[in-house]
Symmetry: C2
């Protein structure tokens, strides 16, 4: 096959590299995912990313010259204009000149952006918010963050911190958050918040299947709680109902601020739908003023692990404009 112009798209996460090749018509011709180890370090992750892209080119019988540009989704904070990842707690990187490194391996334009921004762009281009220009993507996993699309482009704010919605206070006298505050959206509705409440219930001696899942309650995860709730465990149901209701309150704050066409939720805890999303929708309707709540649907992300890849592809077309 002679694919004359291809773009490489990459989504780097805390434990994986996902990479693909997209042709001019916007078709994903090849993709591969590999697991990574925390000890790899930035240079090794970048080298492995380049290797995957080369192997994918080989797989579809395209010469290396066919690669026109590379777009990458990376957990931030990072500086997309200089191409430097200043500090990524998820990757353990500090001041990594990612774009420079990658351009030493491929002599083509390389653009990078924050994973929440890329997921939002991807869902707006090809996923649950396809064709929409005013989109908020909220990821609810270990932490909570958002990517904001306004007028079809990423909204960054004046200092690059727009969308830090996980640290909006929704219960001023609520439980402590990792940020040092109390009652943040993230402290009440994230995967960590759910896991913490499950551990507390087990340690407290509540009658729940959660106490049988792991000898060590500190190893209980939000996924355990979601499964237990879906099987009807009363304690797990109570935890998910509470976290879902708080998620609705947090999403309502987002809606009151931005009034988007849609709120897309991603991340392991709620992105797949289920009972937490039901409670979130109920809380959202209760906590938005009429008619805002009924105008803004809350929908799960549609692209699964590929939202970041499609976002990375969109970065390149935005950079060309």
């Amino acid at each position: 096959m002679n694919a004359s112009k291809l773009i490489g798209v990459v989504d780097i996460g805390g434990t994986k590299i996902l990479a693909g090749l997209i042709d001019q018509s916007g078709k994903l011709l090849a993709r591969r995912r590999i697991e990574t180890l925390a000890e790899y370090g930035a240079e090794e992750v970048i080298a492995r990313t380049a290797t995957i892209l080369r192997e994918l080119l080989h797989e579809i019988h395209a010469p290396e010259e066919a690669l026109e540009a590379v777009g990458c989704s990376i957990p931030g904070p990072l500086d997309c204009s200089s191409g430097v990842v200043h500090f990524s707690p998820n990757l353990g990187w500090r001041d990594v000149p990612f774009v420079d490194h990658m351009q030493r391996l491929f002599d083509v334009p390389v653009v990078i952006d924050d994973d929440a921004h890329c997921a939002a762009l991807g869902e707006a281009r090809k996923g649950a918010a396809r064709g929409m220009d005013y989109v908020v993507y909220v990821t609810i996993s270990t932490g909570i963050g958002a990517g904001i699309i306004i007028g079809g482009n990423i909204y960054r704010g004046a200092h690059g911190f727009a969308g830090e919605v996980g640290h909006i206070t929704i219960e001023a006298a609520g439980p402590p958050c990792s940020c040092g505050n109390f009652g943040c959206f993230e402290a009440l509705a994230s995967g960590s918040a759910i896991a913490t409440r499950a551990r507390q219930a087990v340690i407290h001696g509540d009658q729940t299947v959660l106490s049988t899942l792991n000898d060590d309650p500190t190893k209980l995860s939000a996924e355990h709680v979601v499964s237990a709730a879906e099987e009807g465990d009363v304690v797990a149901l109570r935890i998910i109902e509470s976290a879902g209701t708080y998620a609705g309150i947090g999403l309502a704050a987002v809606a009151s601020a931005f009034d988007p066409q849609v709120i897309v939720v991603g991340g392991g805890v709620m992105g797949s739908g289920g009972i937490m999303l039901q409670h979130a929708r109920k809380g959202f309707l209760e906590r938005t003023i009429s008619p805002v709540g009924s105008l803004i649907p809350i929908v799960p992300a549609a692209l699964g692990e590929e939202s970041g890849l499609w976002g990375a592809a969109t970065l390149l077309s935005l950079a060309k404009r």
Copy 2:
């Protein structure tokens, strides 16, 4: 004086009309404020507005033909594209075709917008956020609302409801709000919230100067409480400290969402600075993640009652683009 091209600027409020004439160089040549009565109705308010503009033209010896356009700030919700005020609780108007009416009196382009949008534009053009492109203006008076400026223009959201920040929940189990919910920013930090807490203190028999200000505690206003606090009344101080801290939490939510260059606060309660603003700044720093809080100053509006007039003038220049 022969002012060849003038624009009329108007700010209509619940109890007043403020109108002025601005020349091409952006100078306010004349202005007048009149008080209005609730029973006036839309037609009378519009007729009186036109009369004031005619009198101001006369005052500066300009012919009526010098008037090129009229910009108006009006409490919404309203539809700026059709020029209809659908429903303004502050004015008691419903489905008033304001632009049509005004154009029957002056045959020139007339543009209208919501008062919070206009105040935000005015402060961004000539006031506390002069020259800035990313601005949130939050008015804290009887209610709480916001005008959002992104890229120098009003940000309305997908359905025109962006900036409904008064109904962001900041204390999920907090006191009831006029909207039917609990613990909204407005229920904890507005003028009404302050007045309610003052009444409760007086009825409860707390030792405070507030109990001597009015025979009827239902007539206590937020302004009474602010004055009493500034004179050292302990109960009033406690109320203002609490409302100020909650205001800081609400403003922190706004900052986490939008990351503006500045947050301008207007409205009777905090717009003039004072101890409530001090508590708000403290709460804001506590409730924003580093470095967001220290990057975004919270400043009082600088144009006093004229923010809306300058916003109305800016509407006209934006409409021309």
